[in-house]
Point group: C2
Chain length 355, copies 2
């Protein structure tokens, strides 16, 4: 070992879902959107001025910021944009979680939270979900250095009510509470309205799911202008120009095509509701998903077996070999056709296993 290796930061990185390289795969493992982005996004990229790429982009990404601000009817200085919601949340951890007290998040949740905490040496305590995989608001009422949870939660797909979120935010006015709304467009609840009342609430969202643009890496946060200003200072101390020109252009185009956005989101919700019926008939139980995925277990076949068998049939779903959830699958909602192939494949697996 070289001497310099002693001072290398020790981390255990997050492991994202597989990105299989072969073409004929049904990919229901990383909660991507099964539909392409708005045609206006392609238009913006095709017709964007390529000569201007020699120049630095606007460090504030103001065109994108103001498109988002207009959409949600908030001020430009209430919006922060980043390279996916991972960049936004990572920046928020670095900006806000500098207390001596531990931060809090659920035991079963987005598995990046503990990775960021470790990276930035932030102490944390995880709070167990209840038996129905629900976040118990009472667990977040003690002293702490900050709070983060997704709503709906992932990979459980369970949604918390606005009144419960409000209770958590109100009772923790001395710390920043981050609600990670990556999947909120597929559900019934958002904490966005609470921003007007609470200066300690940061709501984070992404273009990767409901706006079908995981490949462009765009995330954003909305909150009180003091929160956003603090995040910008930290961001400008790390990298002045995080959003490249194509992200800004494509992001603006996506926001502007609201009809397309609403169409694909409602199509995914429709497919999800049908999937609940189909998979129930095949012996699955699941939480009442308010996301673009189902969190499902089978009444007789082990999740890991189904996961492996589906993979053999070139259908990729997500399986977490972790305590409490190691008999569950996280199945992204695909197109109607992809889901039909999933039902057929599951039926074959069920028939084979019961032989």
């Amino acid at each position: 070992m070289s001497d310099w290796e002693k001072n290398v930061r020790k981390v255990t990185p997050y492991i994202p879902g597989e990105q299989p390289k072969c073409a004929h795969v049904i990919k229901l493992n990383t909660n991507e959107c099964p539909y392409p982005p708005s045609p206006m996004v392609a238009e913006a990229l095709n017709h964007g001025n390529k000569e201007k790429l020699r120049l630095y982009p606007d460090p504030e990404a103001m065109e994108l910021v103001s498109a988002i601000a207009d959409y949600y009817n908030v001020d430009n200085n209430q919006v922060f944009v980043g390279v996916g919601s991972d960049d936004v949340i990572g920046m928020a951890f670095l900006t806000f979680f500098n207390s001596d007290k531990p931060i809090l998040f659920p035991d079963i949740t987005y598995s990046f939270y503990d990775v960021w905490a470790d990276l930035f040496k932030i102490d944390y305590i995880t709070k167990p979900l209840n038996q129905n995989f629900e976040i118990m608001k009472e667990d977040y009422m003690g002293e702490n250095g900050g709070i983060i949870f997704p709503n709906p939660n992932a990979p459980t797909a369970v949604e918390m009510e606005t009144s419960d979120i409000e209770d958590i935010v109100r009772e923790n006015s001395d710390v920043v509470v981050i609600v990670d709304e990556a999947y909120a467009d597929f559900g019934d609840v958002t904490a966005l309205e609470l921003i007007k009342k609470y200066d300690n609430l940061l709501v984070v969202r992404t273009f990767s799911k409901s706006r079908a643009m995981a490949g462009m890496r765009i995330g954003y946060a909305i909150g009180n202008e003091k929160l956003i200003s603090a995040m910008k200072s930290v961001k400008f101390s790390y990298n002045s120009y995080t959003m490249n020109m194509t992200s800004i252009d494509a992001g603006v185009a996506a926001i502007k095509d609201d009809a397309y956005f609403k169409k694909i989101v409602s199509q995914i919700i429709e497919t999800r509701e049908r999937a609940k019926k189909e998979l129930a008939e095949l012996g699955f139980t699941f939480t009442d998903s308010k996301t673009n995925f189902l969190f499902a277990k089978h009444n007789s076949i082990k999740a890991e077996v189904i996961f492996e068998e589906l993979k053999k049939k070139n259908i990729f779903v997500r399986y977490f070999k972790k305590p409490r959830i190691d008999n569950y699958l996280r199945i992204t909602i695909g197109t109607e056709q992809e889901m039909q192939q999933l039902y057929d494949a599951v039926r074959e697996i069920v028939d084979m296993q019961s032989d």
Copy 2:
């Protein structure tokens, strides 16, 4: 002040050069390339598959990594890519500079180094350049927690010889030495060859200057595979997918069009050498620039006056109101035509001031 504000990270952000919004401006203030990117970049963006944008990009950005590795004849696992060299260097600070001893860098240098050090609470000592604005290698021979300097240095434009770099790297085998080669394509020296001999040397480069793609945000580091692997672990603990699909596609296209790259770089060098003659005749002295900018002072007119007067004529150069360099201008090399307009404008200012 809200209670949560007590735990906000305190930082003094880097302030990038102005990005004037009006159209008819000669922009010689942020060291951008005066020429557009390779036509193959426009091609790649226009004809790239837009449907795939719904999917996450390759977290390893392997197409881009391997295009860079091939170009420099190193292994894929010796290359790290990021959102501009700022992202790459910031990640390197977080990964490697975790010693109790202070890191070292020059007193006059890229003004982001102290910002990153403050952000990540890394102790540092700056070492004064000599009277000729040269880095003195002897200053970097004591105990330290790591070393970073640009070569050529900025904003001084002065280049250090390979043998001096090698002395620093060899004498500091217990820490990581980062050579920031943002401008090296315009000079005669690179530390890349030393990577084979020293496992503690990281060389950082960017697409923002010589590859005319500041707007796309692409930077990279080349080093021993142990260094790169450590940086990747930290990167994957912050954001799995930093490089969006358009950056990957555009970056690959730029690397492949080597003829265009060589053409614009040699054109900029030619213009720079002519600029040295023209500006000398107008009363300027400067360091022997090996970059795409000149670091110049006038023999009778104060730099700040020239800076303000040029601005009135819609010509933007960079002025740093800092000790030791507050009578210098950093002038980016533009097109021949832009430089001619600069010479004419300077002549008017000189004539006016000597009236």
